[in-house]
Amino acid sequence: MQERRLTLPFDEETARSLRVGQPALLTGIIYTARDAAHKRLIELVDAGEPLPIDLRNQTLYYVGPAPASPGHAVGSAGPTTSYRMDPYTPKLLALGLRGMIGKGLRSQPVIDAMKQYGAVYFGAVGGAAALIARSIESSRVIAYPDLGAEAIHEFVVRDFPVTVIIDTLGQNLYELGPKTYKRERT
């Protein structure tokens, strides 16, 4: 399968052109956020206050990297399980969040919001954390430094390997893929 090269940030039209199952290499800027950072972002949204980053057309990566050892921009940095972010995600999609990178299932409200606003859910390979770290060229904390590994980081990435798991039509590789290979009756 040929990988599609994608430059970040990306717009709604590009998002709507991506299809489920498509491997892609991402180059540009991504922001990290996991449970604690999401909680803070949503508190700001609910209070009607501005966020520390403008999420329009941006991509969030659900990750809490390992500390960087000397000579490395980041430590190992694979995806964390995405469902824990589901309660917060529709509100961020409404603000223009365009892409999400994680691993694992998403809730129906998230998928519905992705269809409505034109956003894509990419999967990175869970546990391929040292490999993924190689595609991260630089990292800096841009919000919530007190959260440590959970702070919001800006990563500059080159050829970051992902696959389109859920596209803007709501087609889901976690349903379609296993259906093709399923032999067990349950």
């Binding site: 490395h72 190992s76 691993k103 546990g127 391929a128 040292a130 490999l131 893929g177 093709t180």
Partner: protein
């Protein structure tokens, strides 16, 4: 009687966590290579390729295999004729964990309290410690780093005797199917059957640190391991959960005597990054 210094326990624990966080065990590497040859999905093969490259990078650059360097668990078998000198036994293990995670650039993932004070302890302690006293003059330590992507997909159920072997199979398959892509397949499935509520869970955890080429010594349970492995792989979840024929690398079962009224079953799911080491002092 033999004297063992608690400093040597700290040293051993420290070395084990540093090694297991960077280097996949040989049986795991063999199982992943084998899975790559047997996987039918092209995307699944791509995922297994990425994983194999990942293990190579981690071992050669000595960086963490996965950013979730886990909750630390130590099983200690202490010979009853050992006399420990130099300090507190449990604290010597905590100190080993503390040193490994701090010096080794491993992520600290432990919070002090589960509900009221989710504040990071800063050094990945406390480590979970299970101790057994056995005959002899040695201490055998097994260290595990357990990622929570897969830990969160684990489950325990108190079946009743009438549920029997079919009930056990159904519970295991339902648990794995519901987990889907979340625990980073290909997974290793540890199953504890029998005992009491907590014993079944401990047995399941022990299973996740067994060699992948080892079978249950009881033929009937070995056959159940094989059948469950085949049926899990027939679920079609595949590497990374994007569809395929290699969902699990191994099913391990440990069984124990249980109550006339009970049939506890614990399923501890472990991701492919099954990080463990065993050493004897």
């Amino acid at each position: 009687m033999r004297e063992i210094s608690t400093a040597s326990i700290t040293q051993t624990v420290r070395e084990m966590f540093l090694e297991l966080s960077y280097v996949g065990t040989r049986d795991l590497m063999a199982a992943l290579h084998d899975a790559k040859h047997r996987e039918e999905s092209p995307l699944g093969q791509l995922v297994l390729d990425q994983l194999l490259t990942n293990y190579e990078i981690a071992a050669t650059e000595r960086v963490a295999i996965c950013q979730d360097t886990g909750m630390s668990v130590v099983f200690a078998q202490i010979g009853q004729d050992v006399h420990m000198v130099g300090g507190d036994f449990e604290e010597s293990i905590q100190q080993g964990v503390r040193e490994a995670y701090t010096e080794g650039y491993l992520r600290k993932s432990i919070v002090r309290d589960p509900i009221f004070e989710r504040v990071n302890t800063g050094d990945n302690t406390p480590c979970v410690i299970h101790t057994r006293i056995v005959p002899g003059t040695q201490i055998t330590l097994t260290a595990l780093a357990k990622g929570f992507g897969s830990e969160n997909m684990s489950a325990l159920k108190m079946l009743v005797p009438a549920d029997g072997i079919e009930g056990v199979k159904r519970f295991v398959l339902d648990t794995v199917e519901a987990a889907g892509p979340n625990p980073c397949p290909p997974i290793i499935v540890g199953i504890g059957i029998g005992g009491s509520f907590e014993q079944s869970a401990v047995l399941a955890k022990e299973c996740t640190a067994l060699p992948l080429d080892q079978k249950n010594p009881d033929e009937r349970y070995a056959a159940l391991e094989d059948e469950l492995l085949e049926r899990i792989n027939a679920l079609g979840i595949g590497p990374s959960g994007t569809g395929g024929t290699m969902t699990a690398l191994k099913v391990h079962i440990r069984q124990a005597a249980t109550h006339i009224a009970g049939l506890p079953v614990a399923v501890n799911i472990c991701c492919h990054a099954a990080r463990h080491a065993t050493r004897t002092i």
